[in-house]
Symmetry: D2
Subunit: 136 residues, 4 copies
């Protein structure tokens, strides 16, 4: 699937809910951390970008839950970036349990950059995520 980045995690028990599986909202935390690690690997520090007055925000999230992670599970989030439009970019992110590589979740998270007036703009620093085919 041509993922360009991978972050490994282990489920923490406080992330599990009264069904004894990872709560559905926690997956967005995992995905966010994996996106920020991908950005960092490309030289983009989310926290520094924020302090500089640029807000990278999520405008749409689609998550397909395939199976449930539970206490003790190790897993990876594999991610890649695709250009969605001039102003929007998509993170395609899959979660695979380890070591059996079972697909647990598929997501497409659409983001944009907001300037200090809250308007979407083309943040120069982000262009390095794409080559001229729109692929990283």
């Amino acid at each position: 699937m041509n993922f360009t980045h991978e972050t490994e995690f282990k489920v923490r028990d406080y992330e599990c809910d009264l069904q004894a599986v990872v709560n559905n909202g926690v997956y967005q935390n995992y995905l966010e951390h994996a996106r920020h690690e991908l950005l960092l690997a490309q030289g983009i520090d989310f926290s520094a970008v924020t302090r500089a007055g640029i807000n990278l925000v999520v405008v749409r999230a689609e998550l397909d839950y395939r199976d449930s992670l539970t206490s003790g599970d190790r897993f990876v989030v594999r991610s890649r970036v695709e250009r969605n439009s001039r102003l929007r970019f998509d993170f395609v992110q899959h979660i695979y349990r380890l070591p059996d590589e079972r697909l647990m979740l598929e997501a497409r998270i659409t983001g944009t950059a907001l300037n200090q007036r809250g308007r979407p703009f083309v943040a120069e620093g982000l262009e390095r995520l794409f080559d001229d085919t729109g692929q990283p």
Copy 2:
């Protein structure tokens, strides 16, 4: 939009991240709580259902983020249930800031019921959420 249920919230500061707005993952927490309150109003106690061996799970989430909630904001989650298929049901959920009623987020959360062997099934108790038009 024919919502059938409404839960009111106030942003708590620990829900805000280093952008000083509510973190994108927290909205799934708000939506989940609002769904469980809707179910409770229909006589379905999520926790009791879980103890009885039925797991109500999210299989798909679509969230469109329109604007950001921030410290001090009050808001409502308005929800309704639609039948998606014999085994699946959709919660349509909107978040409106108060008092200006600005739309902050639109979501469609698809759920199903899993029996004790982890297989989707028609949970009788849930049928009360729908009349024969597929509307609650």
Copy 3:
């Protein structure tokens, strides 16, 4: 016990862990929200104070867990402020389940104000929390 402020909550299911009770870390969230509501009632907006470059931080937390909140429980956090030293203030906070008023948790949270260089200082605006007896 001379509490000066009260915030009411209802347990949300995502706050419960695989023991089916509220996770022990979540109580600090409840207590923080109650402290910020107390401050707000005294005209001190935590978020605005932060933007102004003053960081109100917790330097010590003592929590005695008496009993466990669980799905569906309503409860109140009752709080008061005591001067601990020239630079430190204590929030004494109790959690009572409703409607039976059972004591669930007792806490003493010690805070201080840090200036822009990260040094503790006497923030004038906070002095309004105390009268000259050191009591609010």
Copy 4:
């Protein structure tokens, strides 16, 4: 300080709040995960113990916050167990930032085991955490 176990972490941006540092409540999450990893290394699986009807619960938490973790920080939680009384055990836990080994937080978390009727009892499996000097 004779710690017997160490778990390494990296701060995730969703754990940071509007002060742009790790929220004070999140440290309890870190400490819990580190305790469960310590238990697991001793052959005690928290989730399995819970399913067996034994609830390991926190009865008291003391946390001294020395400095703030922030975006990008790596750190370790170092832990050891001490017998507190016949029925209670203490986890002494320190958090050190990496690579500079700066002490960020000191905690003493007191726990006990509850049987199926919610009464504290001596859980045989936990005795392996201590030798006859009360030290692990």
